[in-house]
């Protein structure tokens, strides 16, 4: 199985452990990754220009399409924006023509025959939880995990087609396959606050701390993430001085690839470091 690996802009420099651990887990599961020099998914520029965002995304899709590969991303914002572009390219023939006209100058072409998957979908659908269970050698028994869904893969369902937008189960299934105990928590589908980071930090951190407190009340040892931006947001608890004395109040956020990697005995991190 080979996928066009799309780490996005932030992972290589700002969250390299997501890259390292994702590769380790996928390698153990027999998934091969093709390296293509992609550009930005178009998510950040969507705030300023719909057209620039769609074109950025379309170029990535066309690059993966040229190699006849499914595009795989571990970031939910990248996933959401790639699906957003795909949706509107399908809906609007004029947009499609304009984009393909530009792409043609470098020998590329977008068509709806290119599939985009998020890491969780790859694990759950393409591989299946049974295959994960087979590889688990150090089950995360007793670890209470709050699955944080992130917004952009989940909603709008019409565009993303990720999981049931009102009661998704994919993340919990995978965590259970790794031996962990998913907890039910009221705010699990809410925003992490990252989009307002650096713009309105008061609100951004407010949204984040509400979520983390909610997860703790539900008994979570850790909050599991499967998105670059969500993880970067939750990491602010560790890095920003405001939280210095309150770090213990919040459950730490751990990447899904780290949890799976530990359960598969691939990573040096041990259980105590996760929680």
């Amino acid at each position: 199985m080979k996928y066009a690996y799309f780490p996005g802009c932030k992972i290589p420099r700002h969250l390299p452990e997501y890259d390292r651990t994702t590769r380790a887990v996928l390698d153990r599961l027999g998934v091969r990754l093709a390296e293509i020099r992609f550009n930005c998914c178009g998510y950040p520029i969507r705030q300023q220009s719909f057209e620039a965002s769609v074109f950025s995304a379309a170029r990535n899709l066309a690059l993966a399409r040229r190699d006849h590969l499914t595009l795989l991303t571990p970031c939910k914002c990248c996933y959401g924006n790639l699906k957003h572009a795909e949706y509107w390219l399908k809906q609007r023939p004029n947009l499609r023509m304009a984009v393909n006209h530009r792409l043609a100058r470098e020998g590329l072409h977008w068509n709806d025959d290119i599939r985009v998957v998020h890491l969780l979908t790859l694990l759950d659908e393409d591989l299946g939880e049974g295959m994960i269970r087979e590889r688990v050698v150090k089950p995360l028994t007793g670890l209470q995990v709050a699955a944080h869904y992130g917004c952009h893969a989940l909603r709008p369902f019409e565009v993303t087609q990720f999981d049931n937008p009102l009661s998704p189960t994919i993340f919990e299934r995978l965590l259970a396959a790794a031996g962990a105990t998913p907890v039910d928590w009221p705010l699990r589908l809410e925003c992490c606050g990252n989009p307002l980071q650096g713009k309105n930090d008061r609100l951004s951190l407010n949204l984040m701390t509400r979520k983390l407190q909610d997860a703790r009340h539900a008994g979570a040892d850790v909050v599991a993430t499967a998105c670059t931006y969500c993880q970067l947001q939750f990491n602010r608890v560790k890095s920003e001085p405001v939280f210095q004395e309150k770090v213990q109040k919040y459950p730490p956020a751990v990447l899904v690839s780290v949890l799976l990697g530990v359960s598969m005995g691939l990573l040096k991190e041990n259980r105590s470091e996760i929680s």
Binding site: C9, N39, I45, F50, E51, A52, R102, E190, L203
Partner: protein, 570 residues
């Protein structure tokens, strides 16, 4: 007008003076220019100079010597990092670099260098003649690859400007005027006649013999009888005269691998060329092009020859201390980094947001062009607002992926430059659209942005959701969007914190009064979680509409802020 050694000597010294003054000026700017704009005056420049002076002499003694040697050999001399990225580019750069270097040292400075090193050196003897031609060809091949790349690679073509072409043109003129100059010196009898007068006999028979011999074996195109009809005795006499008077300095010119074939091609035109003194004209062009290159060195991309190695060594030799002194040194290092740029375009070619540039059209989105703009604004205490706004748009489009920094062949810490310059833009009041929105109330923006300006670039590139009644006609004002909104939920008093709620914004849309929402804090503080849209029982694209409002507001605010007569908030 030609053959005026006095004038040429004067021109040489003028060029040299311009070059040295230019270098001094550029070095001065390393300590004077600032990426971070402040009111610091001459004292700060002096401090930075002092600091730089000490730092410079500390480099080789800092215990990092093996590392510095590694950089000097690996990255400056052999440029292995370029080889790893792109072998063709490596060949191009080394050909230009070493082709030029050989010609500079062993040809241009032959009286100083070559003659001292090799006794019996003459430019018209093998192997010097062959080597000069060979390195000329190497340089020409490098230039050829450069021209090919800059005109055939799309992203490179787009950023290639006059400066890049001018640099290639100067080198091109130097090398090709050199080839043609040598070929006319081989071909034309003018030179022969002068030399015979100076060094050989004045016996007409001997001269006739020498002419015959040189016409046959040295390719000189004398006017008159063709070489085939010459009698053998005359030729023998000519060979004797040659061995006595010429052979010390002249061997057969067919070792001139570039100039010899050219001289054969020019043979039919020898008469005219001799008449117009083509060798003199070419010599003057050759020399003037060299002087121009020398004088322009500090003011063109050629300056990287000095700046890039210095930058690499300074960066490698710098400690990581974080204090006030280190801040001053960091500024110096940044400006030096700007000068280290060769405008090779690799950063822009692989920039993550390069496709954004193709839509938005602002060159400052591309790292290589953003760097140029920074170079400009770093010189000014109060840079022109238009330039700063363009720079701001480019800077805020950057996703900080760091790819430019990983790829830069000059090793410039571009990411650090972007981080610092972005902070400086915010500090000096050049913001992103979110920042603009906060400078006024929703009502103020509502009246300012009422009339969309047709000048807004790229303004047509959105879905047009807010203009279509179909988008909203199903809205029944049920307030579901507002009740599921986490931003509303996080506020104790949404009306005053956010100006209006999502449902109120949808109502304004229904009434086609979108201008009133363009500056609303609800629009700008939307976290794009799509709860509203997912939960809307009527299928209204609430979050998509908020996205589009931000797009529209950004475009209109940009036009408004660029108006020269605006009652600015800055």
């Amino acid at each position: 007008m030609f053959q005026h050694p006095g004038l040429n000597t004067l021109l040489f010294y003028v060029s040299l003076a311009v070059c040295l003054a230019g270098i001094s000026y550029r070095v001065f700017t390393w300590f004077h220019d600032r990426v971070i704009h402040s009111n610091a005056g001459a004292a700060a420049t002096l401090k930075r100079m002092g600091r730089g002076f000490i730092g410079f002499f500390r480099i080789p003694t800092g215990g990092q010597l093996p590392g510095l040697v590694r950089i000097l050999v690996g990255q400056v001399l052999f440029q292995v990092h370029i080889l790893k990225q792109n072998p063709l580019r490596w060949v191009m750069h080394l050909f230009i670099c070493y082709g030029f270097l050989y010609l500079l040292i062993f040809h241009a400075l032959d009286d100083l260098v070559t003659r001292t090193l090799f006794s019996g050196y003459e430019p018209t003897l093998h192997p010097f003649r062959f080597l000069r031609n060979l390195f000329g060809l190497i340089l020409a091949a490098g230039l050829g690859i450069a021209v090919y790349r800059r005109s055939s690679v799309r992203s490179l073509r787009e950023i290639t400007g006059k400066g890049d072409w001018a640099a290639l043109a100067i080198l091109g003129v130097i090398v090709f005027s050199g080839f043609f100059l040598e070929s006319t010196r081989i071909l034309l009898p003018r030179m022969f006649d002068d030399m015979v007068r100076a060094y050989a006999s004045d016996d007409p028979a001997e001269i006739a013999g020498l002419r015959a011999y040189w016409a046959k074996d040295f390719g000189v195109a004398f006017s008159g009888a063709p070489t085939s009809s010459v009698n053998p005795n005359r030729l023998d006499l000519g060979r004797m005269v040659h061995d006595d008077s010429c052979a010390f300095c002249h061997d057969r010119p067919d070792t001139a691998v570039a100039a010899w074939p050219i001289s054969r091609m020019l043979q039919p035109m020898a008469g005219i060329l001799n008449q117009i003194q083509a060798d003199q004209i070419l010599w003057q062009i050759h020399v003037l092009a060299c002087f121009t290159g020398l004088a322009l060195l500090p003011f063109t991309k050629f300056f990287h020859i000095l700046a890039t190695p210095v930058y690499r060594l300074v960066r490698a030799g710098r400690g990581e201390a974080a204090d006030e002194k280190a801040d001053a040194a960091a500024e110096t290092c940044r400006i030096l980094g700007l000068d280290a740029c060769t405008h090779c375009g690799v950063c822009s070619r692989y920039c993550s947001v390069e496709p954004v540039y193709r839509i938005v059209g602002n060159p400052d989105i591309l790292p290589s062009e953003k760097l140029r703009s920074l170079q400009f604004t770093a010189k000014k205490k109060n840079p022109p607002p238009g330039r700063m706004m363009g720079l701001a748009e480019g800077s805020f489009a950057c996703t900080a992926c760091g790819r430019c920094t990983d790829l830069c062949p000059s090793g410039i810490d571009l990411q650090e430059l972007w981080t610092v310059s972005r902070a400086d833009l915010i500090q000096t009041g050049y913001l992103d659209p979110y920042g603009w929105a906060r400078t006024r109330s929703a009502a103020e923006w509502g009246s300012l942005l009422e009339h969309p300006s047709p000048a807004a670039p790229g303004a047509s590139g959105h879905l047009g959701l807010t203009d279509r009644v179909e988008t909203f006609w199903a809205c029944v004002q049920c307030t579901t969007c507002t009740s599921v909104c986490p931003v509303v939920g996080a506020s104790d008093d949404p009306e005053s914190d956010l100006d209006m709620t999502p449902q109120q914004i949808m109502n304004l849309m229904r009434l086609q009064m979108k201008e009133l929402a363009l500056g609303a804090r609800m629009v700008w503080n939307c976290v794009t979680c799509y709860q509203c849209q997912e939960h809307c029982p009527q299928g209204v694209r609430v979050a998509d509409v908020l996205y589009e409002l931000r797009n529209l507001a950004g475009e209109r605010m940009k036009v408004h802020l660029r108006k020269p007569d605006r009652d600015g908030t800055r």
